[in-house]
């Protein structure tokens, strides 16, 4: 990788002390990974492995017990407008309108802007997420999907260097989730938005992410490996399962979550695994069987994940 990472997580650990000075629980330990400019990285793992804590540490909302997060060459010491957060439970202010919620964020980024300009900018982002006409509504009048759209508009409106998402679609029904995934895919491609997202949904990760970070089960969770998504970048939700790489990647992720996430400690002891440099694997390209090659000769060549302007 030639470009400098936008975010670099270095040796991150979180421990909770036990009462009475005994050694406490270690949620996760010695995590190393990076997110490059323009890249979409997903972190996938079972609940209880500290996913949300990692995101909160990256956002500057929580302190790690050890290790650092370097953002843009500087150590993260607190929250910043450069890293916008999309929360699991939308976290909209219920007393503000849709436009008010977005404008609240815009005013925080641009305190010197006159009111008209703030509202104009906020309105543009409300339209961008497809909520034109709902500006004056309150969150309670919106469906779950629409609320999360406002959350996305609020995060994008401050034009952050980096977008952090904490299972943003997990509280939505399948249909709405699919629509919002498409929307996020479109927005991130259009704006070359660098994004880090936490999920436990394999298909969501394959659709959205350029690289997928795999975490083992807690306590003492580690990063087992990083899966490079070799599907073409212009994949869509409806078409991607026809690509020969899709099922290989999917099966790899599923195998990991079902078996390897639990017993990874043994695997790591067997040797070859280095916490500082977790292996990057390309299961999509692995063991190319003749049948698949012949069946899909015209399939677009997978593009590497760093070819963003």
């Amino acid at each position: 990788m030639i470009d400098r990472p936008l975010i670099s997580v270095e040796g991150l650990a979180k421990r909770y002390p036990a009462p009475g000075g005994k050694p406490g629980t270690t949620v996760f330990e010695n995590l190393w990974f990076t997110v490059h400019p323009g890249e979409f990285v997903c972190l996938i793992g079972h609940s209880g492995c500290g996913k949300t804590t990692i995101l909160n540490v990256m956002a500057g909302l929580e302190q790690a017990s050890a290790g650092t997060v370097i953002a843009d060459g500087r150590e993260v010491s607190g929250p910043s407008l450069d890293r916008a957060m999309i929360f699991q439970g939308h976290a909209l202010m219920p007393w503000m309108t849709v436009l008010g919620n977005v404008a609240f964020a815009v005013r925080s980024r641009q305190p010197k802007w006159p009111k008209a300009r703030v509202l104009e900018h906020a309105r543009r982002y409300v339209e961008l997420v497809g909520l034109a006409g709902a500006e004056a509504k309150h969150p309670a009048q919106l469906s779950g999907g629409m609320k999360q759209r406002v959350g996305i508009a609020r995060a994008l409106a401050i034009q952050p260097r980096m977008l952090l998402m904490d299972e943003p679609f997990s509280a939505l029904d399948a249909l709405t989730r699919g629509m919002l995934q498409d929307e996020v895919l479109r927005l991130c491609r259009e704006t070359h938005q660098t994004t880090f997202m936490i999920t436990h949904d394999i298909d969501e990760a394959i659709l959205l992410a350029d690289r997928i970070v795999l975490m083992t089960n807690g306590p003492g969770a580690r990063i087992a490996e990083i899966v490079v998504n070799t599907l073409p970048r212009d994949r869509t939700r409806h078409e991607m399962h026809r690509h020969p790489h899709y099922y290989r990647i999917r099966n790899h992720l599923l195998d990991f979550l079902v078996d390897r996430a639990r017993d990874f400690a043994r695997e790591a002891e067997a040797g070859g695994w280095d916490a500082r440099n977790p292996p990057e694997v390309r299961p999509g390209e692995a063991e190319p069987s003749l049948a698949v090659r012949n069946a899909a000769p015209s399939m677009a060549r997978p593009t590497p994940h760093t070819d963003v302007a």
Binding site: G60, G78, P79, F87, M93, P94, W95, R109, A140
Partner: protein, 280 residues
């Protein structure tokens, strides 16, 4: 029966009121075959007893007449002991409002601080727990002794009784603002002052308003008793004065009006609370 549920409940209320007045009327009817009373004795007991009624308790018609007399000319002042019921009521409302607003000015900022700081909350909690259950009237002698002014003492008593619900509700409302909203403000690098008035205040406003509504109710309860003690003016003093005159119809009138004003105060606060309430 046809009509909306609202209309039907209104009809039922009217029927109940009519029934109540009827029972009252029947219970206060003059007993049949009134016995002759010694005129000297009748003079001592008053007209009601002399006419041979069962009791001195007035009939609904008598109370109605007195109510009408009070309401047709509520704002006259003919001397320290002869003022219109409206003037007395305004004195009481004025006292309640000044004590209540002073309490709000102290309780809401202090509650904010207590709600934000767990340290302060724990440090002040024993004081609040001891002071809160004290009957406000127990402060009266102390207030009269130190302030040496009965009018100000009454305001102080209102202040001390209405401060606790507002203080505790504000602290609770501020302390239980959803973490998510605070995290949103933090990730947007919103300063502490803007977080306080743009996030915490609107988030806690419904809880604060509930405390203010409880407080105005308590203040209105306490003012009558306080004015009976300090005397001079006010609806509480009016009731006590009429008791000394043994004018039961005037007392019943005052009781009725105290209830109506209390209801109006509560309704006004409920309206305000509705303005700051949000649906989640």
């Amino acid at each position: 029966m046809a009509g909306s549920p609202r209309l039907r409940s209104a009809v039922l209320s009217a029927v109940l009121l009519a029934g109540l007045i009827l029972v009252w009327h029947l219970a206060t009817l003059p007993a049949a075959g009134s016995q002759a009373v010694d005129p000297e004795y009748a003079k001592l007991l008053g007209a009601a007893a002399a006419q041979g009624q069962k009791s001195a308790f007035p009939t609904p018609a008598e109370v109605g007449a007195v109510l009408w007399r009070h309401l047709s000319n509520p704002f006259y002042v003919r001397g320290t002991n002869d003022m219109g019921i409206g003037v007395q009521m305004l004195h009481s409302i004025g006292r309640v409002m000044s004590g209540y607003l002073l309490a709000a000015l102290v309780a809401i900022p202090l509650g904010f601080l207590i709600g934000m700081s767990p340290l302060l909350y724990r440090a002040l909690d024993p004081f609040i727990q001891v002071l809160k259950p004290i009957s406000p009237l127990a402060w009266m002698p102390l207030a009269l002794y130190t302030i040496k002014d009965s009018a100000v003492s009454a305001i102080f008593v209102i202040f001390i009784c209405s401060i606790w619900p507002m203080l505790l509700n504000t602290a609770f409302g501020v302390a239980s603002v959803r973490r998510e909203w605070l995290n949103v403000a933090r990730t947007l690098e919103v300063g502490p002052l803007r977080t306080a008035y743009a996030v915490i205040l609107p988030a806690a406003a419904p809880t604060i308003m509930t405390g203010m509504r409880i407080s105005i109710g308590i203040a209105w309860l306490v003012i009558v008793a306080a004015e009976m003690l300090v005397g001079g003016t006010g609806i509480g003093y009016f009731v006590w004065n009429e008791w000394n005159n043994l004018s039961i119809p005037s007392i019943v009138t005052a009781i009725l009006l105290i209830g109506l004003v209390g209801m109006a105060l509560d309704l006004a606060l409920a309206r305000l609370a509705k303005l700051v309430t949000y649906a989640e």
